[in-house]
């Protein structure tokens, strides 16, 4: 007899709507962006592109990190949304393609690609051994290669396990996910060093990579919680999910919110106390213009608000209450990446232009359209989810 999970080869109508919105956003956003490029609306339009690219890349590797976590721990708490995280992870391939324009327009984006600036700075001359087009491209290719292999192989084994019922895939998934998690942290660290930290001419911070690892995982989990919050009313999800599952996901969101804040605050406190010119510039710059209110807003709305809300067990156990919090975390994550990336361009005048918005919307549109397409071709619940009671009896 076929299990309820098999029967419900879930095809959610919402996926089509999400894709349609994605396609419209992609057309409008990228249309706007290229209009901005051609009309020279801003001085360095490809900076906006990098910004848009980073927002969604953080989500892509965030999905990979949650997927690795579930595979590594064999956490049944994650089996109801593992396919969504696997689909999100696979978008790293899309991000690899979208990375190509960045290589083509390096000079528009990075100070180290500008010979005049390099000539004027000893630090940048020192870094030139690694920060040059060739090595930057090679390293970026390595990061993407690692992510793509992890995302696609894990997803394949996860599906093969479903197809064959062969338990060896379970062991293989765990055995790949554990070293995979180590590789992910290392590659994300160096990737954000190359792609974001190197926007600053002198600044550096050893914890910066971890802030992105935690932030990415938080954004991806917020996406997962949003998904579950939207589907739980339909079968077979209603009988699969119980308040305890939502409570666990709420707790994990809470943990990641606190962990992100802990890392971000550590960086701030140590930099502020040291008050060294090459380091403090990062925060001094973020005290100017709109970034001060944005930064304050992030402290209040990215940390305190979700922190206080997620303290409530009732909220975490009630999907209709957890849903808006998850959506909120997802959105505020975009604001946080904005605050990390945009001020590092050291723009004079307008700090956030409509070209930036167009790039984020456009690339986000493509992301959701592709993500939806991957979801469509996927059975949304793995067969190894098995019995409803097992979801409840997670470790």
């Amino acid at each position: 007899m076929a299990s309820p999970i098999e029967e419900a080869r879930v095809k959610l109508s919402g996926i089509g709507t999400m894709q349609a919105i994605g396609v419209v956003a992609a057309i409008v956003g990228l249309g706007g962006f290229f209009f901005g490029v051609s009309s020279k609306a801003v001085e360095h339009p490809w900076q906006s592109y990098l910004y848009g690219f980073m927002v969604w890349t953080v989500l892509a590797f965030g999905c990979l990190s949650i997927s690795l976590l579930i595979h590594m721990t064999r956490g049944k708490w994650g089996y109801t949304f593992i396919r969504v995280m696997e689909a999100g992870s696979k978008t790293v391939l899309l991000m690899a393609v979208l990375f190509i324009p960045i290589l083509a327009f390096l000079k528009d984006i990075y100070p180290w690609a500008n010979p005049d600036l390099v000539a004027a700075s000893k630090t940048m001359q020192h870094r030139a051994a690694l920060l040059n087009l060739q090595w930057f491209a090679i390293r970026s290719a390595v990061y993407f290669a690692v992510w793509i292999v992890l995302a696609f192989v894990l997803s394949k084994w996860s599906k093969d396990e479903d197809r064959t019922g062969d338990v060896n895939y379970l062991i293989k998934r765990t055995n790949l996910a554990a070293p995979g998690a180590v590789l992910l942290v290392l590659t994300v660290n160096f990737a954000v060093t190359d792609w974001v930290m190197s926007l600053e001419q002198h600044w550096y911070s050893t914890i910066f990579g971890l802030i992105f690892v935690a932030g990415g995982a938080l954004m991806a989990l917020a996406l997962a919680a949003t998904y579950l919050g939207m589907v739980w009313k339909r079968e077979p999800f209603t009988s699969l999910l119980n308040p305890k599952n939502f409570h666990d996901i709420g707790n994990l969101l809470f943990t990641l919110v606190v962990f992100w804040a802990y890392l971000a605050f550590s960086q701030f406190l140590i930099t502020w106390s040291g008050n060294l010119p090459e380091e403090i510039i990062y925060y001094a710059n973020r005290k100017e213009g709109p970034w001060m209110p944005v930064g304050t807003g992030i402290i209040l709305l990215h940390f305190f608000l979700p922190f206080l809300l997620l303290l409530s067990a009732r909220l975490k156990r009630t999907p209709s209450m957890l849903l808006p919090v998850a959506i909120w975390i997802f959105l505020i994550r975009i604001a946080e990446v904005t605050w990390e990336v945009l001020p590092s361009f050291h723009r004079t005048g307008v700090q956030f232009s409509w070209v930036d918005a167009a790039a984020v919307i456009g690339i986000g549109g493509i992301w959701f359209a592709v993500f939806g397409q991957i979801l469509r071709s996927t059975q949304l619940l793995p067969r190894y989810l098995q019995q409803p009671s097992e979801v409840a009896e997670h470790a």
Binding site: S3, K122, T123, M124, H126, R127, L130, G165, D166, V167, N168, L170, I171, A178, P179, V182, V185, L186, N189, T193, H202, Y204, S205, T206, I207, F208, G209, L210, W232, T238, S239, L241, N242, P243, K244, F246, Y262, L263, S266, Q267, L269, I270, T271, S273, G274, L276, E278, P319, R383, Y384, Q386, Q387, P388, S389, V391, A392, E393, A395
Partner: protein, 472 residues
């Protein structure tokens, strides 16, 4: 039921192994654990380790008295290395305590049942480790009799501690840590103390256990309050796992000394603390379970989990070493680069490579299931890690201080041995070992009440009452 069901269980090995081995019921649990305290004569090893602890305590008393009489000049600290063994040992001991807190608090909140057998031992270890740790900064002040000046209290001179100094944060962090850990440990003991009170034959034991059990009768109301208090203390302890060692790391990181001022320090110190702590738990548990025959409760599954946590935290620590080196280069800052090259090729390079071996390379053998399931293997790795974590603090503290900004201010660090640094450090082992030796003799080292609860859960796991509720 799906046809796959039959294929799943065997592969997991230890994963689905029971957490309590052998045939046990509530009575045998009490007999097995309670009798260690009440009836059974101590094994020979207990006397040997008691003797070693006594020798170390003697060394502590002598070096302590000499220190108080002469002052901190008997230690090897001097310009430019004003922090030496004292601060290394402070950080090392306090780090060890973290495993206890992680096991008792975080694993409880995460509903990890495997914590049950080892939490009491780990919490006790935490208490004595924090006591050893606290001694060092206290004595390092040079005038421990006025240590209360570190506490902000209204006084006639209106003098307050410098709140912007992480050394003052340390005072708050460590005292909170000790208080909460002691409370947690004691609250967990109460039901067991009552059991021992009821079982004890000796009058003195009956009275002593009776007083400490605070009138526990095991009524539903008692259990209800106990569970609430235990959970609340777990909630309070959880942030302490992160905060205490983060604040310790800030002692260094908020300065601008190269090798100290780096933003990765808080998470990297916390991971290092848990890493060292689990190594110490394993060093204690492996022999104790054998000597006292409690392998039914502390099974290979527990060892496997502890080894995995050690591997994971060890990787974070190794990641920290890599980041320090990479960003020293990336910074382009001459002092950072000089520090990195000093570690790699300076006077103390041997210790740096030893550190990389102990904390970076050696723990990688834990990827292998064979090593994780070998008691000898685990013991050796834990010993290497314990040494490595001490070396880490040595490399961070005096080695960074010895070569900071101006070559004219460079110097070296040599600890004193007799009546000084080394003897005092050995002395703290006397406190630690003496405490542990006394503990296993007079209190139940494994929480009987929790084991019984676990036994109940393991036996009735598949009971239909455990049916899932559905979303309302």
């Amino acid at each position: 039921m799906s046809e796959m069901n039959g294929k799943y269980p065997e592969d997991m090995g230890l994963r689905d192994a029971p957490m309590i081995e052998g045939e046990h019921d509530y009575g045998t649990v009490t007999d097995k654990i309670g009798s260690i305290v009440l009836d059974r004569p101590s094994p020979r090893q207990w006397y040997i380790w008691g003797g070693i602890a006594g020798i170390c305590l003697g060394s502590f008393l002598v070096s302590f008295c000499w220190l108080i009489y002469k002052g901190v000049g008997v230690w090897g600290i001097n310009n430019p290395c004003g922090w030496g063994f004292d601060i290394i040992n402070f950080v090392w001991w306090i780090g060890i305590g973290h495993a206890g807190t992680l096991i008792s608090a975080i694993l409880l909140l995460m509903r990890q049942r495997w914590r049950t057998s080892i939490n009491r031992l780990a919490e006790t270890m935490t208490l004595f480790a924090v006591c050893c740790a606290g001694l060092f900064p206290l004595l390092h002040t040079g005038r421990p009799w006025v240590a209360y000046w570190l506490v902000p209290y209204p006084n006639a001179l209106a003098i307050w501690p410098q709140f912007r100094s992480p050394l003052v944060w340390d005072v708050f962090a460590v005292t909170t840590y000790l208080t909460v850990s002691a409370l947690f440990w004691y609250v967990g003991l109460v039901p067991d103390l009552a059991t021992l009170r009821d079982k004890a034959k000796h009058k003195l034991a009956k009275i002593g256990m009776g007083i400490m059990a605070m009138g526990w009768r095991g009524s539903a109301a008692h259990w209800h309050r106990y569970e609430a208090a235990y959970l609340a203390l777990a909630g309070l302890s959880t942030p302490l796992v992160l905060s205490v060692h983060s604040i310790v790391s800030l002692d260094f990181a908020v300065s601008i000394v190269p090798g100290w001022h780096t933003t990765i320090f808080p998470p990297y110190f916390v991971a290092g603390a848990v890493f060292a702590g689990f190594a110490m738990v394993l060093l204690l548990v492996i022999p104790i379970r054998k000597w006292y025959g409690v392998a039914d409760f502390v099974t290979m599954r527990h060892m496997d989990w502890m080894a995995k946590i050690m591997l994971a935290t060890g990787l974070v620590v190794f990641y920290g070493y890599l980041m320090e080196m990479y960003y020293a280069w990336y910074s382009g800052n001459q002092f950072e680069i000089a520090l990195a090259s000093n570690r790699l090729s300076g006077d103390y390079k041997f210790w740096y490579y030893a550190l990389i071996f102990c904390n970076g390379l050696a723990p990688q053998v834990l990827w292998s299931k064979r090593v994780r399931h070998s008691l000898t293997g685990l013991f050796v790795v834990s010993l290497i890690v314990s040494i490595g974590m001490w070396l880490e603090r040595f490399v961070i503290i005096p080695v960074s201080l010895s070569h900071d900004f101006m070559p004219s201010a460079w110097g070296g660090y040599t600890p004193t041995i007799a009546f000084g640094d080394v003897m005092f450090f050995l002395g703290t082992f006397g406190i630690f070992l003496g405490g542990m030796v006394a503990f296993v003799r007079i209190l139940p080292m494994i929480p009987m009440s929790e084991i019984k609860h676990l036994l109940h859960l393991e036996k009735h796991e598949s009971h239909p009452a455990a049916q899932a509720e559905t979303v309302a």
